[in-house]
């Protein structure tokens, strides 16, 4: 339609519905970060669609003044696939919890990644079922006590990034739930990426799993325990920016820059665009430091692009312009 882009502010993306999460929930941070990211993407408001399943996190669409659907548990990725295929102009977002995505929704989760549908997938990972009041999820820790595991969870968890890469994810980012500025940046990158952009947020649930990420996300330890990766930049972290990662055989190792003759130039440089996923997988699995930021971002035709290529190809060569042409083609006969 028009070419002059409208300049939005985050307020343009706030709906008139009262936000109903628990006070202190990280979901508020994610909401605000997305509301701040959208004005920076150049996407028109009417082209934005938020689709969710069921869960605390899945209330998300109600709070965005965009098109939205709060659907049924676990199906957001499949619904979003249909929405995006139907209208490739839309900016389609999925908001989904760890249970919604990886318990009941696990199949759609791996398939949307495999197909590389061009959507933005925000995974609210609080390692618990929030809305149903505290059962373990597929990301809950072994031994974790919850309402359905009063004696400790016996099911080893998925690592979402690892599962995603196993399902061929082309874009994966991870962030703590308390870093609104980083989030805004990553959401802008996710929207720009053509293909499924999966962003995992380590979201604290203050009621049922409070503090599950403190050892990584607490302000006091964050810089020592997280490494925020940026494409093209060396893998350096620490309050003093004095630690870095090097590769030893097939293992990542933390080294102190300046010690044992290690200099900055020995440190690995992050290449998010490397198609081979070996190093990205290693980063995703690394427990110390925890890798955050955009870990993988490898462009490849999206599902929609492949589909449109196909349609263009067959449309040009088709004998049929209208359905009538088809109906009257082939073996017909006339009764007079």
């Amino acid at each position: 339609m028009e070419n002059t882009p409208i300049k939005y502010t985050f307020k343009d993306f706030q709906s008139d519905q009262e936000v109903r999460w628990c006070p202190g929930c990280d979901d508020y941070v994610i909401l605000r970060s997305i509301q701040k990211a959208l004005p920076e993407t150049g996407v028109k408001k009417e082209d934005v669609v938020f689709i969710s399943g069921i869960g605390c996190s899945s209330r998300f669409p109600y709070y965005m003044d965009t098109y939205g659907m709060h659907s049924i548990h676990g199906r957001a990725a499949a619904i979003a696939t249909g929405t995006k295929l139907a209208n490739p102009n839309l900016s389609v977002w999925v908001a989904s919890g760890d249970g919604d995505s990886m318990a009941i929704g696990g199949n759609h989760f791996i398939h949307v990644l495999r197909r590389n549908v061009d959507i933005n997938y925000v995974l609210f990972n609080n390692e618990i079922y929030g809305l149903t009041k505290g059962q373990f999820s597929p990301t809950s820790l072994l031994g974790q006590k919850t309402k359905t595991s009063p004696y400790g969870n016996t099911q080893p968890p998925f690592n979402p990034g690892e599962l995603a890469i196993g399902a061929r994810a082309r874009f994966f980012a991870r962030l703590g739930g308390n870093v609104p500025k980083d989030m805004t940046q990553v959401f802008i990158e996710a929207e720009k990426f053509k293909g499924t952009s999966l962003v995992e947020i380590l979201q604290n649930c203050v009621i049922f799993n409070d503090g599950c990420y403190t050892k990584y996300t607490d302000k006091a330890v964050k810089d020592e325990m997280q490494i925020h990766l940026e494409h093209g930049k060396p893998m350096i972290f620490g309050k003093e920016k004095n630690k870095g990662l090097i590769l030893k055989g097939l293992k990542l190792e933390v080294v102190n820059i300046g010690e044992n003759g290690i200099t900055e130039s020995d440190i690995l440089v992050h290449d998010a665009k490397e198609p081979d996923m070996t190093l990205h997988s290693m980063l995703v699995r690394m427990e110390y430091p925890l890798a955050t930021g955009v870990i993988r971002s490898v462009e490849e035709p999206s599902f929609g692009e492949r589909e449109r290529e196909l349609v263009n190809r067959v449309t040009d060569s088709s004998r049929f312009k209208t359905v009538d042409d088809l109906f009257f083609s082939g073996e017909t006969y006339e009764v007079k």
């Binding site: 709906s15 519905q17 028109k44 408001k45 009417e46 082209d47 934005v48 669609v49 689709i51 069921i54 669409p61 109600y62 965005m64 003044d65 965009t66 098109y67 939205g68 659907m69 709060h70 659907s71 049924i72 199906r75 499949a78 619904i79 979003a80 696939t81 249909g82 929405t83 995006k84 295929l85 139907a86 209208n87 102009n89 839309l90 199949n107 759609h108 398939h111 589909e307 196909l310 349609v311 067959v314 449309t315 060569s317 088709s318 049929f320 209208t322 359905v323 009538d324 088809l326 109906f327 009257f328 082939g330 073996e331 017909t332 006969y333 006339e334 009764v335 007079k336």
Partner: protein, 618 residues
Amino acid sequence: MITDSKSNTTPKANEVVQNVVIRFVGDSGDGMQLTGTQFSDTSAMFGNDIATFPNYPSEIRAPQGSLYGVSGFQVQIGSLDITTPGDSVDLLVAMNPAGLKTNLSALKPGQMLIVDTDSFTKKNLEKAHYDTNPLEDGSLDNYKVIEVAMTTHTKEALKEMGLDNKSVIRSKNMFALGMVYFIYDRSMDHTIEFFQKKFKKKPTIVEANTKVLKAGYFFAETMEIISTTYHVGPATMDKGVYRMINGNTATAWGLLAASQNSGFELFLGSYPITPATDILHELSKHRYFGIKTFQAEDEIAGITSSIGASFAGDLAITTTSGPGLALKGEAIGLAMMIELPLVIVNVQRGGPSTGLPTKTEQSDLLQAMYGRNGESPIIVIAASTPSNSFDFAYEACKLALEHMTPVILLTDGYIANGSAPWKIKKASDMPPITNRLVKEGENHVPYKRDEKSLARNWAIPGTPNLEHRVGGLEKDKTTGNVSQEPLNHQYQTEIRAEKVRRVQDYIPEIKSEFQEEGDLLVVGWGGTYGGLSAAVNQMNIEGYKVGHLHFNYINPLPKNTLEVLKKFKKVIVCELNAGQMVKVLQNNYPEITYSQYNKAQGLPFTTTELIDKFKQVL
């Protein structure tokens, strides 16, 4: 086979008959489906009315010669109105002992049986569990048996072409077809043309098949034992251009027409399942119409991707069969709650569970009505013939778009795979389809309803200033925001039901056929139309006052249903299940007393069994 007095003057006696039923049976590898289709197409082009019934094994390639590997194709052609492929057959062509064993009971006593004697080897007889050779033990004395060494003849016909043995044997079905063409006075032209088109790049194959076809034809002509040929004249059918069509193709094309006429792009989210997959296959071929066919990871993704597409403004379809419909229940409830257009095509098969996947049944009706949580009424309609699957697929789209609701279209394996002549319709022959789209600049209240139909408005993503949210939680009757308010829930529950009830004002009234009033009303729905119609016809010929009432609209039922039911002394509801439609009728019209005739054998009704039952009830 109803014989007629007229006869003409070829060397052999040529009896004119009004209809004839032929069944081709043989091994899965014997090409029986192709043979049957060729005979049907040729007869259709000649002008006969026709109904076909393909019947293949559930195995992909069952071991050669085995009983469960038999593939069959039955066709009835007629110069009069043909509504079924026929109960019992006038000519059985059996390419091997297993085919004979499993199909002989369908052959009318005294009628013609053609067998390939070359296949009656000891090994094949054993595989067919024959202790003695039926060609020798007198067990076929009641039939006109025509023994032909077809394999030998085929080899003979092709001996100079230098083809490999496999290819030679593979064309023996054309020998049989040639014979049948001669017996039924049919031209070979159509089939020869077919070879030429199909094997354009393989002229030897064209030549070989043509040779064998002709060899069969001429063999029959010169053979002593075939003393009579039969002529089935053209049927009196409406003028127009026709083609043979099966129900699945007709369904696919009805969807195409609806997409073109409504102006909405077609989106099909589906997961393969027998016998519905052919709709997905057919639409996948026509991607140049801008159709999006999306093979999803499962049935749930099939329907939910369609819901997503519908939300974005496509004409969204999902296709499946029984077990798949069960999986879609929760999502149908969502589509009903958010009141988006969506067509769910369910091609019924034998149940329960995996059941009899390649057989027909009508046992998903109550699932279609009630198979989801909470009070979630939606429109349910059913096609009743291969060709009107086109009309009802179209109608399903029209109702979904105009009433903003999911619609379930029920067909079944019998009409989905069976073929019949279809008087081709142009898209422009179909009624126009309107929509409830709200456009940029218009005022949008998500749950504002049309006063008459109660359908809500539809604003699609991409339209400025109409941003809004939908969802599966109960919602306020106007704003659409989440509401837990007790009286609002009561109101919404009622209005959703009323919206579906009001569809009565948009669908045709129903009429009984054969009789407007009388002693017995035979009630059916969906794919049994042909069978019931043939039986009721016969009853009327025999002088009984029997009417036939057949439902295509099930939820809601046509407005005048009760009036029609009341015009008959007795009502019998006939279904290929244990009694489902009768429950729906009881719930709607408890004042009527219903008898029932139910069958669950994976097979359509036979005229004989119906007539027996009707006479018993009268």
